[in-house]
């Protein structure tokens, strides 16, 4: 048998850190760091062993530390959205959290050293933080545009300034950066930066706008889909995304196994539901 490409383990909560209204949760998860590539995700069972909520939860892998004092750890950027995430950000250190990772197909990286624009909304930044570094290693010029409702939901700008040539920030309430929405500023940004590849992570309307604006400019797009993913491992069909295959045939494919990263021009956006 070949080495596994994905692991299932009882990860152990090591630490929590608040970041505005978001949370960074560090988990001891041996082996995951080594297998992770930007765009893959971790699927967690939240709420403890007696929770009556069966759906699992997907999270981007924000950072990995292949080895440290506590062994191999990963960090997640968590928005408190529902009972499961509320539980996660309140767990006592040492709590076991069943975790399956890394799952899905990562972002495709350009073969050449080209210009790339990374667009991320709120916790979507967790999908692109590591990507920025990888692209820079390959000699790419990296621009980043981050958006959020407000300052409190913005994360990673400082970190990204170390790798990216430019980092722009847009907030809906204008509490930091420019006031506005990512989708609004996108056309002007792309006209100015002229990337060959646009990477995006965030809600569906942002992904759709990214795909359209990239295509209009002859650029590639790679969009990271974060809709419902109740099982994360391909069994439930709860994550079907309508795409057009390389054979030009329309199909509905599982985002957890065929995605979560898709080529923007392959998605039939009119039929995407959430």
């Amino acid at each position: 048998m070949t080495a596994p490409r994905v692991l299932h383990t009882d990860a152990e909560v090591l630490a929590h850190k608040r970041a505005g209204s978001l949370h960074v949760v560090t988990l001891v998860a041996p082996g995951v760091a080594e297998l992770h590539r930007p765009g893959t995700f971790a699927e967690l069972t939240l709420g403890g062993p007696d929770s009556d909520r069966l759906a699992r939860h997907a999270f981007w892998i924000l950072r990995t530390r292949p080895s440290g004092t506590y062994g191999s750890t990963i960090e997640l950027l968590v928005a408190e959205r529902d009972p499961g995430t509320r539980w996660l950000v309140q767990t006592a250190p040492g709590t076991a959290v069943p975790l399956t990772a890394p799952l899905g197909r990562p972002f495709a990286l350009p073969r050449e050293a080209v210009t790339c624009t990374l667009v991320a909304h709120e916790d979507g930044v967790a999908a692109v933080l590591g990507l920025a570094g990888r692209l820079k290693e390959r000699g790419c010029v990296v621009h980043v545009v981050l958006g959020a409702a407000s300052d409190a939901r913005l994360y990673g700008a400082l970190d990204l300034r170390r790798t990216a040539r430019t980092v722009q920030v847009v907030t809906a309430d204008g509490s930091v950066g420019r006031r506005g929405e990512l989708a609004e500023v996108l056309p002007a940004v792309l006209d100015e930066q002229r990337p060959e590849v646009v990477y995006a992570a965030g809600p569906v309307p942002l992904l759709r706008a990214t795909a359209a604006e990239a295509e209009a400019r002859g650029a590639w797009s790679q969009v990271a889909y974060a809709g419902a993913m109740p099982c994360g491992v391909g069994h439930c069909l709860g994550c079907l995304v309508p795409v057009v295959g390389e054979d030009a045939v329309a199909r509905n494919v599982r985002a957890c196994t065929e995605g979560p990263v898709f080529r923007g021009d392959r998605v039939r956006w009119d039929e995407v539901t959430s």
Binding site: M1, P4, R5, V6, L7, H8, T45, D52, R53, L54, A55, R56, P98, T100, L103, A228, P230, C231, V233, G234, H235, C236, L237, G238, L240, V241, P242, R251, N252, R254, T257, E271, V272, T273, S274
Partner: protein
């Protein structure tokens, strides 16, 4: 059921035409082929894999949400989709067969003729050890499937396909969750020649999205929703217990609510000779091996020990 009766009941793994290598079986529609399946699940821990239900024709699966969490359960639309019987026999079936997982093909059809045809195809495929008839998927009226709510319906379908199965291929009849009818339906299935009955299918259900007051599945018919998961355990156990009490010789495959090895043991104690696990496979990708381990412990802790688990291989 007393301990004495338990010993009279069919042995663990006994499905008539075949004997399973272990009692834990992947339920229909809950374990699918992926690139990473083998990295997670130890497929050798499964007595068999039941395919998602297929029809003669293929049907595409609409995108969008298709399950909604309810307390210890999930509500999902009942629909027969996927590649159709030929697609299944060309794709996922050989995938499992190549990995030495005994395959049971789940089928549904609109007419007795279609039932016979699809069972003939399925049973003839290499590595297929059984066919499971999905009888009366909950809320199936109008889907074009053969309506099955009374014993004589079950008898007719079973009789129509019985002759299509070669020796060594078991015929399972999966029955709907109708508490007052399950004994009649099971008796009709057994009398017409089914090797075993699978008890029970997901239960007829409904769900309301608190934001809209309507079911949360815009792409699906709101009258064809059903409930799966641990919430169902006591309901499924009841059907198993009732059929075991009424038909001491019938072979029963339990389905419904299994989360732990203790739940598998409970179904065995209630009278099943094999136990399917469905929803838990969605939530715990390592469930096959976990259940195998937990089951041994659960059986060891039960006094009197209800059954002797079989470790024999399928021939």
């Amino acid at each position: 059921m007393s301990a004495a009766e338990a010993t009279r009941a069919p042995a663990v793994g006994d499905l008539g035409a075949v004997r399973l290598r272990g009692p834990v079986v992947a339920a229909s529609g809950c374990l699918r082929v992926t690139r990473t399946l083998e990295d997670l699940a130890d497929l050798s821990a499964l007595g068999a894999w039941v395919s998602p239900t297929v029809a003669l024709a293929s049907a595409s699966s609409p995108p969008g949400p298709r399950w909604w969490g309810t307390p210890a359960g999930l509500v999902h639309p009942t629909s027969i989709e996927g590649p159709g019987i030929s697609g299944l026999l060309a794709g996922d079936v050989p995938w499992f067969v190549a990995r030495k997982v005994p395959v049971i093909v789940s089928v549904a059809a609109a007419t007795l003729g279609d039932y016979a045809e699809i069972v003939r195809h399925a049973a003839a495929a290499p590595g297929v050890i059984g066919v499971e008839l999905r009888l009366a998927p909950p809320g199936a009226r109008g889907l074009g499937f053969h309506p099955v709510t009374e014993g004589f319906h079950v008898g007719r379908v079973v009789a129509a396909v019985r002759g299509e199965l070669p020796p060594g291929c078991a015929l399972l009849a999966k029955l709907p969750a109708l508490p007052d009818k399950v004994v009649d339906l099971a008796r009709a299935a057994v009398d017409a020649g089914a090797d075993a009955v699978t008890l029970v299918d997901a239960a007829p259900a409904y769900a309301v999205d608190p934001a809209t007051g309507r079911p949360p599945f815009p792409a699906f018919d709101p009258d064809r929703l059903s409930l799966s998961g641990p919430a169902l355990l006591p309901v499924a156990l009841r059907s198993v217990h009732q059929v075991r009490a009424a038909l001491p010789q019938a072979r029963i495959v339990a389905s419904g609510g299994v989360r732990t090895g203790a739940d598998v043991a409970a179904h065995l104690a209630a009278g099943a000779s094999a136990v399917q696990v469905g929803t838990t496979l969605l939530r715990d990708p390592v469930a096959p091996q976990r259940l195998r381990t937990e089951l041994s412990a659960a059986l060891a802790a039960m006094t009197p020990h209800p059954i002797e688990p079989s470790d024999e291989e399928t021939p």
